[in-house]
């Protein structure tokens, strides 16, 4: 599915994104930063869904858990230390993935969907129904965590433009990291599990361990996204753990194209920007309230016409071009 052009296109995309804060308004800069956070989230889920063949409907558990770790670990009115709170959030997500992974990975297919959903809903109700995380109101994070080495601040994340570039840098790093992981022995084995787990076991691969590692890596990266999201919004509430969030991120992956990392990024961009457009009351008036209906129709059309998602657009186009006698 990947053409030789892809790295060039991706580089251009990163350059354009990096230049955006010089021309864009604050609202849009913050919106794109939010999109990039969701892109990290979607890539983490794509590792599980698109490469390991495990469709999870509970990925918001990691996203929300990391946010709550930041909110709980941060001092009430002072800035938290980014290094320690981030490490704490990621370790919490990895442990949560390890513990739940031992159980959920014994199932597959529809049962895996149900069990992952069940675990994330359990976490949702833990935070919703107990005062531990502020109940249904959630908690505020008054100051953005500080990124210091010794006494020197590296980046001032209170500046929305700096936060934007910070997020862009992380998204790029996560993309390159996952590309590398997928190209390694470990990644090839994951793709083998997705294609034919039974055969991979017969070849001598202890597939459960591979799936558990994939589940933990995926959950930890979702935690990274959740941490930055909580940092950007400045508050957490149980909604970030809800199955709506799990469903949205799954939709982003499917929309963009499963099993292609840039597809997940593309899916996040299209999903959130479309949501922003369709729910704009000054454009669509009272119908804007029903933006989910239009979004649903859009997702159905993409699923019907582009089984490989939006990234399939390129290859479908090339094939047609070739079939009509052109040079692809």
């Amino acid at each position: 599915m990947r053409s030789k052009l892809t790295p060039v296109l991706l580089l251009i995309a990163v350059i354009l994104l990096a230049a955006f804060p010089f021309v864009g308004e604050k609202f849009y800069i913050q919106l794109i930063a939010k999109v990039m956070i969701m892109a990290i989230f979607a890539m983490s889920l794509d590792l599980l869904v698109g490469y390991t063949g495990l469709v999870s409907l509970g990925h918001a558990a990691f996203f929300g858990l990391a946010g709550y770790v930041l909110a709980k670990a941060a001092p009430q009115y002072a800035a938290a230390n980014l290094w320690t709170t981030l490490a704490l959030a990621l370790v919490a997500c990895a442990i949560f993935a390890l513990l739940t992974g031992f159980l959920v990975l014994r199932t597959s297919g529809i049962y895996f969907i149900m069990v992952t959903l069940a675990f994330s809903q359990m976490l949702f109700f833990v935070f919703h129904d107990t005062p531990f995380g502020g109940g249904s109101d959630g908690m505020y994070i008054y100051a953005k965590p500080e990124m210091k080495i010794g006494e020197t601040a590296l980046l001032d994340l209170e500046d929305f433009k700096v936060l934007y570039w910070f997020t862009l840098g992380l998204m790029t790093l996560v993309y390159l990291f996952l590309r590398q992981v997928l190209d390694s022995n470990f990644g090839r084995a994951l793709i083998g599990i997705k294609t034919n787990e039974h055969r991979l076991r017969a070849l001598g691969f202890p597939t459960f361990r591979y799936k558990l590692a994939s589940y933990m890596l995926s959950g930890t990266l979702a935690g990274l996204a959740g941490y930055i999201a909580a940092l950007q919004f400045g508050f957490v509430n149980p909604e970030i753990l809800s199955w709506h969030v799990s469903g949205s991120v799954l939709m982003m992956v499917i929309l963009g194209g499963m099993g292609s990392l840039h597809g997940a990024v593309l899916g996040a961009f299209v999903f959130i920007l479309l949501q922003e457009i369709l729910s704009n009351q000054s454009w669509f008036g009272p119908i804007a309230k029903h933006w989910q209906l239009a979004m649903g129709i859009f997702v159905i059309i993409v699923a019907l016409l582009l089984p490989q998602g939006l990234v399939g657009l390129g290859s479908t186009f090339r094939k047609k071009h070739k079939a009509s006698g052109g040079h692809g």
Partner: protein
């Protein structure tokens, strides 16, 4: 004769009340092809699945002399563990990784022998030793020229060859081959028969096959199964001459087995 490398002892597998494999014993030796024949439903594939760990036997033992690691009872071990102990199997139904090239299928199989899964910062294609094993097994199975072809684009016969190549890439000592000739043309069959004869030199092979010409061409030892039970076992000549077998299988049922 040397000691057997693998002994199946009184193996039984019950599915509910049905004994798919009933009190079966046989021995495999390095350098020998042991063929198992019998009509459809005789329990041949179940027997393979019991040895390879896809199924756990109800009773009985599978004693295996692992290279340098002593003796194991394979009964109840997981299929990935059994594979790593040196027992490779090829499947009756072609069971390859279609999105990969033929070479990549073999590379993945060879990779299973390396304990390097967690070196995630090194590209999978950059291990020279693994690549070499993959290349050798493709060559052994007669697919050297087809390595870069996508597995889905290979002909049916070539996919069967790839199935065997992947099995070889795991460098097994015991080969369990479940109908390697299924659906092959006469030319392709001859090539696989020659390959089995070559592999027999340094492997112990359990061959399940319906093609009697192939079986009698390669087998050193023959076991006949009917309804989950062994009705005869011995050299091909002895089995061919057995009135018991002719009555139960070769005589009346020979025509049905291809259907």
């Amino acid at each position: 004769m040397a000691d057997p490398i693998l002994c199946v002892e009184k193996l039984t597998k019950l599915f509910g009340g049905l004994a798919a494999v009933n009190d079966v014993s046989l021995e495999l030796y390095l350098g020998q092809v042991h063929a198992v024949i019998g009509p459809n439903g005789a329990g041949k594939s179940t027997l393979t699945n019991l040895i390879s760990g896809e199924l756990a036997p109800t009773t009985g033992a599978i004693r295996y002399l692992a290279h340098g690691e002593g003796e194991f009872d394979l009964a109840g071990l997981s299929s990935d563990r059994i594979s790593r102990l040196g027992i490779g199997r090829s499947f009756q139904k072609t069971n390859i990784f279609l999105p990969f090239t033929a070479f990549e299928n073999c590379r993945l199989a060879a990779q299973s022998r390396q304990q390097r899964a967690w070196q995630i910062f090194r590209g999978a294609s950059r291990y020279a030793d693994v690549n070499a094993i993959a290349e050798q097994s493709l060559q052994a199975a007669g697919l050297a020229e087809r390595g870069q072809v996508n597995a889905a684009m290979l002909s049916h016969g070539e996919q069967r060859q790839l199935e065997i190549a992947m099995c070889l890439a795991t460098q097994p000592r015991v080969l369990l081959m479940d109908e390697p000739l299924a659906g092959m043309g006469p030319q392709e069959s001859l090539r696989i028969v020659a390959l089995i004869q070559k592999l027999a030199a340094d492997h112990a092979i359990l061959l399940i096959e319906h093609d009697m010409d192939a079986v009698f061409a390669v087998a050193h030892c023959l076991t006949v199964m009917v309804n989950g039970e062994v009705i005869e076992s011995g050299t091909p000549q002895a089995v061919r001459a057995s009135a018991h077998v002719q009555e139960a299988y070769l005589g009346e049922a020979h025509g049905d087995t291809h259907g």
